[in-house]
Symmetry: C3
Subunit: 304 residues, 3 copies
C-alpha cells in the first residue's frame, strides 16, 4: 500500500485487514499508543476541513506520532508560485506521510507521482474522499455486524455527492447488497454509476422519490445533504425539501435495527430530535472514522 | 468538576485546591511531565487570541498531553453551516477536553449542554473568561502570600472590562477585601455589581477618579485598558487619558510591596519604564496563568 | 550562543561545531530522538513561510520537543496593538526557544533585546535568513566534502536576494573560495558587498552575464530566482530571462561533479528536466536544512 488516492485502490482483502486492525485498536488502544512514535505526518489542507483534519491529526497523535501542517492554502508556499510536485518533494523530505486535501480534482494523484512518501487523499474537490468511505464501511460493520446481504438506502443528493458514489462502488464489492436510491429527479444517481457499477455487476437497485415509501425496507440509511442551489427552480425546492429531512415521524415505519449514517457536517437534513434515537449512529461514525484512520496510518507506515 | 464556564462555577475550596496544585507543579514540574500523556485536548478558537491559546497549549504539552485545534473561525466547520452542538459532539469523539473561545456570549455554556467531554471557556465575547480570573488570583497569592485582608485597587475601564467584573466577584468570596475603584465617570463599575456583590456582601469600596489620590493605600493594583472609543467625547478622553496611564512618577507614593497586575495585552496604559520596577508583576502573571491552567487541566481530566 | 539573528553572528568554529553535530544526527538520528523532550519551542511567523516553518517544526519534533505557534500575523496579538517586546516576553514565559519570521527588517534583533529565551531569526524581510545560509553551507560540505578551494557560481538576482548576500559573506570566511557572479546588469551584486567583503578580503571574483560562458568552471552553482518586476523594462526581461533558466542543454558543458543548489521555492528558473540529474541537489538541500536546524536547536537549548 503505497498511496491511498481512491477508495477503489483497496481490494476487499485490504479493506478487511484495515477493519480488523481498526477493531483491535478499539479493543485495546493502549497497545498502539506508541506504534508511530518515531513518525511524522504532514497535513496539507489546501482548503479547510476541520473535521477531517482533526480526525487525521487525532489518529496520528493517539499513535504516538507527530504532526506538522497547514489548514488553508493562504499559509502554503503555493502562494509563492511553487508547483505542487516541488512542495510534495520538500515536505516529503521532512515527514514520513502526507495527508492532503485539495480543491482540484486529481491533485493528490498528481502529487503521488513524484512523492517519496505515502500520500493519503483527504478529499480532492468533488472527486474522491476515500477515508470517508472507509469510515462508512467500518460503521456499517460495527453497528450491523456485517456489510453483506443488506438493503442500503441512500438519500439526498445522489448526483453530486462524492461520498455517495464512492460508497456505492465499494459496497458493490460485497455479496447480497441491494440499493434503494432516494432523491429528487434532478439529483438522481449519474448514468455512469448505474451502467458501470450497478447494471454491470447485476446489483439490485430501485430509485424512488420519497423516504416514506421505502422506509420499512431499509437496513442502513445513508443521509446526505440536499443543497438548495442544486435545484433547477425554487418551486421544486420548496415542494421537495421536506421529503429529504429525516425526523421522528418518518422513522415510525422504520426497522427497529435500522442504522442511520451521515458523513457530517449536516445542516438541516436530519432533525436534531433524531439524535437521541439509538438508531442514529452518525456521531459514532465520526469516532469510527478516527479509528479507521489510525489503522490506515499504521498500515501505510508499516508501523505494525 | 465537569465544565468550567464561569469563574463562579468554582467554590472557594475548589479554588484553593487548584492553587495548591499550581504551587506543587511550580515547585516540581518534572513530576507532572507525563500526567496527561494519554490525553488529547482541542483548542477551538472561533476568534483569535494567541496569548490564551498559547497558554493552554503550552500547559497541555508540558503535561505530556497532545493538542489539535484551530485559531480562527475561518478554518472551522461553522463556515459549512454546522451547528455548534454538532461540532462539539464530533470533536468530543476525538479528544478528552475542549478549550473554547467564541465571540458570542453564552456559546461555551450552550456547547457544554450536549458535550460528552469537559469544556473550558477561554473567553466568550465580553462575558466570561474564568481562567483569567484564576490567573489573577494565583498571582496575588504568589506575590502577596495571600488574598485576604488587602486593599485591591482596580483602575481603568470598570464598565465593560469582563476580567474586572469576574475578578471582583471572585475576590469578594475572600475575607477582609476592600476595593478602590479608579475610573473616569463614564466607565464606573456597573450598578448590578455594586448591588448584587459589594453592597449585598457588605464589602467596603470607594470610587475615585484618579490614581494619584489613592496610590498610597493600595496593596494590589489591577490595571486595565481605557479604550478611546469608550468615551462619550474627545474632550473627556484628552482630559482624562493620562490619569489612567501608570508611570514611575505615579508610583512614587505607592507602597514598597505593591503588586501591579495587568491581564495583557497592554497598549499604553502602563508605561514601559515601569517594567523594570520589581513591583510590576504582569509578565510573571502570564507565567502563573500557564501554571494554573496546568492544574486546571489535570483536575478536569482527573489526571492525578 | 544566545540568539541567532545574522549568519555572521557565528564564528567559523561555531559553524564547524554545528556541521559536525548535523552530521552526527544524520548518522544516528535515533540517538537524538529525546534530546529536547522537556523543551517547548514557539514558531512566531508574522508572514507565512510554510517551508521554513515546517523545517523548524519537524526539527524540534524529531528531537522529542514540542511546538506551539502561529503561521500568519492575523492570528497574533499584534492585531490587538501589543508591542513586539511584550509579545516576546509573554511567549518567552511559556517556551524555551522562539523562532521568528517577520516582514520588518530588524524585528528579530529588536525582539532579542528584551527576550528571556533564545531567538532564532527565520527571515526578516529582505534582510537576514541565517538558517538558510547554514543549510547552504552544510549542503556544500555534504555533497562536495568541503567548502574550501572551490569555484562558487551564483546566478540570478544578486542585487535583492538576501540569501545570496548572506551566503557570500559566510563563504568568504573559508580559504580558497572564488566567485563567479552571473546576473543581468540590473541585478549585479551591490557595491558594498564587493567593497566590504570581496575586495577587502581579496577574494577572487568575476562578474558575467550568461551562464553558458562560465558553466565549465563552476564547482557549486547556486541558482536564485529572477523576478520579472526587478527589470527596468519589458524588453530587457524578454531578452534576458532564458539566460537564467537552467536546463539540461546548459548543463552539457558543466563539470561531472557539479552541485546545483537552490534555496527554494523555485518558480521556473530551473527546468524540471534537471531534477533527475544527479547533480541537482536542491531537494537534498531541503533535508539538510532540517538537520542543521536540529543541530542548531540542540546547541541553543544546551540540550546535549
Amino acid at each position: 500500500m503505497k498511496h491511498l488516492i481512491d477508495s477503489m485502490d483497496l481490494s476487499i482483502e485490504e479493506l478487511e485487514e484495515l477493519f480488523t486492525l481498526s477493531k483491535e485498536i478499539m479493543k485495546d488502544e493502549d497497545k498502539y499508543r506508541l506504534s508511530c512514535e518515531k513518525k511524522l505526518m504532514s497535513t496539507l489542507f489546501y482548503e479547510p476541513s476541520t473535521r477531517t483534519r482533526f480526525s487525521f491529526e487525532a489518529a496520528m497523535l493517539r499513535l504516538g506520532g507527530k504532526v506538522i501542517g497547514f489548514s488553508e492554502a493562504s499559509s502554503s508556499s503555493a502562494s509563492k508560485g511553487e508547483s505542487l510536485p516541488d512542495t510534495i518533494r520538500t515536505v516529503g523530505s521532512y515527514v514520513d506521510l502526507i495527508v492532503m486535501r485539495h480543491p482540484k480534482e486529481g491533485a493528490p494523484r498528481y502529487a503521488s507521482l513524484t512523492s517519496d512518501v505515502p500520500i493519503i487523499n483527504a478529499g480532492d474537490g468533488g472527486h474522491q474522499h476515500p477515508t470517508q468511505t472507509l469510515t462508512d464501511l467500518l460503521t456499517i460493520i460495527e453497528i450491523k455486524g456485517k456489510i453483506e446481504n443488506q438493503t442500503i438506502g441512500i438519500c439526498g443528493d445522489l448526483k453530486f455527492g462524492r461520498t455517495v458514489h464512492s460508497l456505492i462502488k465499494s459496497l458493490s464489492k460485497y455479496e447480497g447488497i441491494n440499493f434503494i436510491l432516494i432523491s429528487p429527479p434532478e439529483l438522481k444517481i449519474p448514468e455512469y454509476i448505474k451502467k458501470e457499477i450497478l447494471l454491470k455487476e447485476a446489483i439490485p437497485f430501485i430509485e424512488v422519490e420519497t423516504l416514506e415509501e421505502v422506509m420499512g425496507d431499509i437496513d442502513v440509511l445513508y443521509m446526505t445533504r440536499v443543497q438548495k442551489e442544486r435545484f433547477f427552480n425554487e418551486a421544486d425546492y420548496v415542494r421537495l425539501k421536506d421529503t429529504y429531512i429525516l425526523d421522528n415521524k418518518k422513522l415510525i415505519s422504520a426497522k427497529k435495527d435500522l442504522a442511520i449514517l451521515h458523513p457530517l457536517p449536516r445542516v438541516n437534513e436530519i432533525s436534531p430530535e433524531v439524535d437521541s434515537d439509538p438508531r442514529a449512529v452518525y456521531f459514532k461514525q465520526a469516532k469510527y472514522g478516527m479509528y479507521v484512520r489510525m489503522a490506515l496510518i499504521i498500515k501505510m507506515l508499516g508501523a505494525i
